[in-house]
């Protein structure tokens, strides 16, 4: 078993993850991203 501190998020990252206005924007972005890949999956490279 190991426990690490490597890659632990900074206070700023933790703040943005909970900052509601920004997260509203992220919600829209992720939602669109999912819909796009579901409805229009990449056809070729």
């Amino acid at each position: 078993m190991q426990v690490t501190k490597e890659m632990a998020p900074t206070k700023r990252t933790l703040f943005t993850r909970q900052f509601k206005l920004y997260q509203l924007l992220r919600l829209a972005t992720i939602g669109i991203k999912i819909l796009k890949v579901v409805k229009f999956p990449p056809k070729s490279n």
């Binding site: 426990v3 909970q18 990449p42």
Partner: protein
């Protein structure tokens, strides 16, 4: 007139039944056979297992939904499939056996939870818990809340979450559970009273049975290993990967790692996902011979149109099944977890002692729904006198994994991982096997909102409420 029988009413079976009814005229009959009278939205069982969602909120009665849609429903367990004589032998909960004949059959019976595969594993043996069905999730919740009481009294407890078999899958669900335990204990002010430990068969942290994920982040290409490592660092979760749990006793697991070393880890509470196998249904031919070994792979999953039998290093994206039709009986299909994958995506490993440790590929709700739809439309094709024309392999399918890290709509979070394709295609995407433009990973409150929205949206869809087919699988 044709009679289509669907075995199972989970993501795959329910989706298939709804599409069949939508696409077929009233002269055709659709029958669903399922052992339980309710649909369970399994992804939310991670919340049931920590006492943050009432079990009833994850379920609805199937009979009224099927009645509304003109779908026949038989509450019974399929025991035998007779493909030559085209009937299924079913057994009701009273032990009554009847034959249900079919023209087309869809096997969507999901996984058999193979607790016997690991000595002492599971709630029946009394040593560990599972959240893979509603009954198990309720037992897991009660046992977890007992530990919470101990912590409230000031005791320190060890919590172990992970994969309970060298070949187990569903790493994502276990990950959600461990992080939800962390959040729950934090909200109760008890986090310092628990050591939380992750033990899994993954080759690396964040592999998730999908061979890991790469995504562009902060101007770099980041791996899911770093992504999950960051989460565990934030939450102080101890971890051990490349490990096969071989035996569970009260308060102790016995394991073997990639190097072939053996060890033990003690715990007060453990939730360990068992190996998934195919549901034990026998296939019987016209002469009464058991042909299950021909119809299924050794784990009991139904063989379909995949290119089976290749070693892992030679597997290509094009080997994955596309129509999910049985190669032996053209009127039988398998959907969701019931179909046999051609292999694992994650790299398998054999220890010096001969133990094979492989994180098997998760077949998620999204994949199961998509396959349910593909299979239904292929059956419709055949009823209309055509060959199955709908093709979508897991190497052509996206995945959207919204892994809850805490349920609260105010302070919760989820890891949102979007990727395409689910099974990497190194011919199309030689560098990473996936399209990095379509792939992303992030953590935030938005994910918690999305996860809760998906819960309501999919229960709405699975009930076949107005507009259900507009909601993507």
């Amino acid at each position: 007139m044709s009679h289509v029988v669907v075995l199972g009413a989970g993501f795959a079976g329910q989706t298939a039944a709804l599409y069949l009814r939508k696409e077929l005229g009233a002269e055709h009959e659709v029958t669903v056979i399922s052992g339980w009278p309710k649909f369970t939205y399994i992804p939310s069982l991670v919340w049931v297992g920590v006492g943050q969602m009432a079990p009833e909120k994850t379920q609805f009665e199937l009979a009224p939904v099927f009645e509304k849609h003109g779908i026949n429903f038989i509450q019974a367990w399929a025991r035998e499939i007779h493909p030559d004589d085209q009937y299924v032998l079913v057994e009701t909960k009273d032990g009554e056996k009847t034959k249900v004949s079919y023209d087309y059959l869809i096997n969507a019976t999901g996984p058999y939870l193979n607790f016997e595969g690991t000595e002492g594993l599971g709630p029946d043996a009394g040593n560990s818990h599972s959240i893979c069905n509603i009954h198990h999730a309720k037992m897991a919740r009660d046992a977890y809340l007992e530990q919470v009481k101990r912590m409230e009294k000031g005791e320190h407890v060890k919590i172990l979450v992970g994969l309970g078999h060298p070949l187990a899958t569903c790493q994502g669900a276990a990950l959600e559970y461990i992080t939800n335990i962390h959040s729950d204990l934090e909200a109760r002010g008890l986090r310092d009273k628990a050591t939380i430990m992750w033990m899994s068969n993954e080759p690396a942290l964040g592999d998730l049975g999908m061979g890991g994920v790469k995504a562009k982040k902060h101007g770099y290409i980041m791996s899911s290993e770093q992504f999950i490592k960051s989460l565990f660092a934030e939450k102080g979760i101890h971890f051990q990967v490349q490990t096969a749990i071989k035996k569970v006793e009260k308060g102790k697991v016995y394991w073997e790692n990639y190097e072939g070393e053996f060890g033990e880890t003690e715990f007060d509470y453990a939730m360990l996902i068992p190996q998934f196998k195919g549901v034990k249904i026998k296939y019987i031919d016209k002469d009464g011979n058991d042909i299950s070994a021909k119809m299924t792979n050794p784990a009991g999953f139904m063989l379909v149109d995949g290119n089976y039998g290749k070693p892992w290093s030679e597997l290509k994206a094009s080997d994955w099944p596309k129509t999910y039709q049985s190669p032996f009986y053209k009127n039988i299909f398998a959907a969701g977890i019931a179909f046999a994958p051609v292999g694992s995506v994650s790299k398998p490993h054999t220890t010096k002692n001969g133990t094979v440790i492989t994180a098997s590929l998760p077949r998620t709700g999204m994949a199961s729904g998509i396959i349910g739809k593909v299979v239904a439309l292929n059956v419709v094709d055949m009823i209309n006198g055509k060959e199955p024309s709908h093709k979508e392999s897991m190497a052509q399918m996206p995945s959207a994994c919204i892994a809850s890290l805490g349920k609260s709509m105010n302070s919760g979070a989820a890891a949102s991982i979007v990727l395409y394709p689910t099974v990497p295609d190194y011919e199309r995407y030689p560098d990473f096997g996936r399209d990095l433009k379509a792939t992303s990973m992030e953590v935030g409150l938005a994910g918690a909102w999305l996860k809760r929205t998906l819960h309501s949206m999919f229960i709405y869809k699975m009930k076949g409420n107005p507009g259900w087919s507009i909601i993507p699988e």
